[in-house]
Amino acid sequence: MTALTMPARPKHDAGLRPVPWRRMAWVTWRQHRAALGGVAVFLGAFAVYLWLTGLQMHHAYTADCHPASSVACTLNFTGRYATTGNVVSIFVQVVPALIGAFAGAPVLARELETGTFRYAWTQGIGRRRWTVAKLVLLAVAVAAAAAAFSALFSWYNQPFFAAGYVIPFSTRLFGLREVSFAAWTLAAFAIGALAGMLIRRVVPAIAATLAVYAGLALATALWLRQHYMAPLVTTKPNLPGSAWAVSQWYTKGGKFAFGAHGSGIANAVNQLCDNGNSGLSPGQCLSQHGYTVWTSYQPASRFWPFQWIEGGWLLALSVLLIAATVWLVRRRAA
């Protein structure tokens, strides 16, 4: 075999200019285009479906829902589309988790599992730049795709909000709106990347990402979100607009009596209100006996502040997770 000789080597200069960041764009695209393409196709197909059914829904709403309390609206709009809307929102819930698991987890786990990190981390660009560039580019790409998708999803749900079928604060929908959905997708990606780095194998990292994401989303929806701002309190029986009722309780003589659920209220209704057979609703009966009902709530006007609060802390969390991933990459011993 005749081996070619290489041309004379340039002098090795000490003042190295680092490999430019922009080179990583091609690298990231070439290595992850399958994942990015998968995300695009998946969201695209979903978007087409939302658009087509959304058009029908919007037509039905405009035709029959003036006013929204009309029978025609109940029959031809909510009656026909509410179930579809519920099912769609359940599917949209899992989109960030899937993106995190299938686009985020393999980024580092696959390199570690197949040993190619030994190639990648010994190139001139250095492993810190390599990791930062990849994670940031991919995170921005999936978050942007999610933001675009959730804009369409918000449009899709508009008739439901307008008809008063759901409130914007609905636990089912709040996390799927523009700001929060992009932020949840970003967080899922960051969770996936860190899980991949920690676990170092693709399939377990995917499973861990799904589990951690589900736990975080559930905890946020059930316990965390209602505390973003101190709720307002009212003694009016009806909440203004489409406010989000957080909790209810009763007082008597200025002292806390019992909550709106549990054995306290059940005993009181039993004793004072003839076990509910007095012909009055428990609320009315209790108020006749001197009880006041209090409701704490988040007014509808806080929807966007809440979106930005949720988006803000998820962004901070994502930055933290990505920074932790980069730190682990830098210190990982081969």
Partner: protein, 305 residues
Amino acid sequence: MNMNIVETSGLGKRYGGTWALRECSLAIPAGHVAALVGPNGAGKTTLLNLTVGLAEPSAGAVTVLGGWPAGSPAALDGIAFVAQDTPVYKNLSAADMLHLTRNLNRRFDQPYAKARLGELGIPLNRKAGRLSGGQRAQLALTVALARRPRLLVLDEPVAMLDPVARHDFMAIVLTAMTDDGVSVVLSSHVLADLERVADYLVLLSHGRVQMAGEVEDLLATHRMLTGPAAEADRYAERPVVRVGRAEAQAHLLVRAGMNDPVPPGWEAHPVSLEELAMAYLREPGAGALPGPARSRNTQPSEVTR
């Protein structure tokens, strides 16, 4: 070139409670093909990972290319590494691997890389996952050489290759060294693979450096003495590395120059590199280290029976 391409002092690496490498002090001069030889688990891969900056030392330090810390930007820029089992991205084509490496480095000699793959008959559009083990190794070597490194580090490069491919692979490594002045550090647990090309030898055993030096010097300072078995014990005080006893004849590997006197009744033979390495590896207590790296295990080694 008058610098050390790899220099370690008191270098150690611990994984959990086990030292994979310890008290490793080496100074490999530039311009050599240095062979890192030792049995499996001797610490070869650990030493190479520390050299290319993939691993951080638990103790001591390692510098490369004449003083740069391993893993520093200058070190990464000047060292090309081909890891064990030559990992490549299976879903990337050979052309993609070239393009990828070009984007990840300041220098990349694309025409050279393409020409070499053409010579080797590796189609540019073939996915790396569909190449044979030999082709994959060649692709990884091509990509590494096209970076025009000052130091090429190869971990068990020929383990997966058949004898012909081994020969070709080593020929290319040797060409890179002689024509372009690339220093090479490569490891193998089979010395025979390296004997033809290596002119510097580092013998590792149980995580320690047992012998290090230029092959020429090592061969010049060791001789095999053959003589009556009954007299073998008389050489106990001399730096004897091994006593091999046949029926009546003993074979002693002694540290002695060509001009040292040969005792009456004994014959002196030059040793081959393989004999030398095997002798030291069988004798974990024995050591032969050059000047600055001389450490406590340089005292004359004991005789074994």
